[in-house]
Symmetry: C2
């Protein structure tokens, strides 16, 4: 049986899950954000099975998250670079970073790493708000509605 697919679902969460819903894909994207570009850079950073990594990189290229850029012919070699679509995905990883930081270190002391501003050195704490009101989301006030036409 093939894995159930959600890429034609009408829910944005389902479509995103279809693309990113496995153990390696979000980490491949994380490494891409941290500047990795070549196969072996990803491989040694993640220590992922090479076959799985190749499959994930292919899928991310197919889906337009990454783009192959040739840097030599004979043999053909390319780098994997983020597209605009891939770059926009950082928001999702940032939300995961924040939630993981807040909730996945039950010992109370939090993770050994934080996000910082490259120039000022200030700690960056991602948070999700409603673009219109600027306030944090309250699930209880949300509902799903038909899109305005």
């Amino acid at each position: 049986m093939r894995r159930t697919r959600f890429d034609d679902a009408s829910c944005p969460i389902a479509r995103t899950t279809d693309l990113m819903g496995d153990w390696w894909t979000p980490l491949v994207m994380r490494e891409a954000f941290f500047g990795r570009r070549r196969f072996d850079e990803f491989q040694s950073a993640l220590d992922a099975p090479r076959a799985v990594l190749a499959a994930r990189l292919n899928r991310l290229c197919d889906d337009g998250m990454l783009q192959r850029v040739v840097y030599q012919d004979h043999p053909p070699r390319h780098e994997y670079r983020l597209t605009d679509k891939g770059r926009a995905f950082w928001d999702v990883l940032a939300a995961m970073w924040r939630w993981g930081t807040d909730w996945q270190w039950p010992d109370g002391d939090g993770p050994p790493v934080v996000l910082k501003d490259r120039e000022t050195g200030a700690v960056v704490q991602p948070v999700v708000i409603d673009e219109r009101t600027g306030e944090r989301l309250d699930v209880r006030r949300l509902r799903v509605g038909r899109a305005p036409s």
Copy 2:
């Protein structure tokens, strides 16, 4: 071979991925946010294999995202309810919602559904910002640093 685990990684994204990195778990959480509580409610909403759903619900309970609440004995029956930790996870799903809405409908017209404020009916558009500055994140200005002690 057992799936590679990241639950002891030092990166918050990796730990979050370890928990949510499969195709059903985010959708189970989505349904929990939309008010599902019982096994068959989840099952019919998602149309997931029952064995897989049972495994996911167990895992989410083990990890403190959901909580079993008994609503009858003989036979013992319980509901699955969100904990604070699970409720906090909405931010991640909201970021996925936004990204999926922006990038996973290439036909240009966007998904048929939107998030709305239950009272005012206004469309809600989640966005990720830096809590301190209130500005959207710019990946290029970020780096990973050691946590302050």
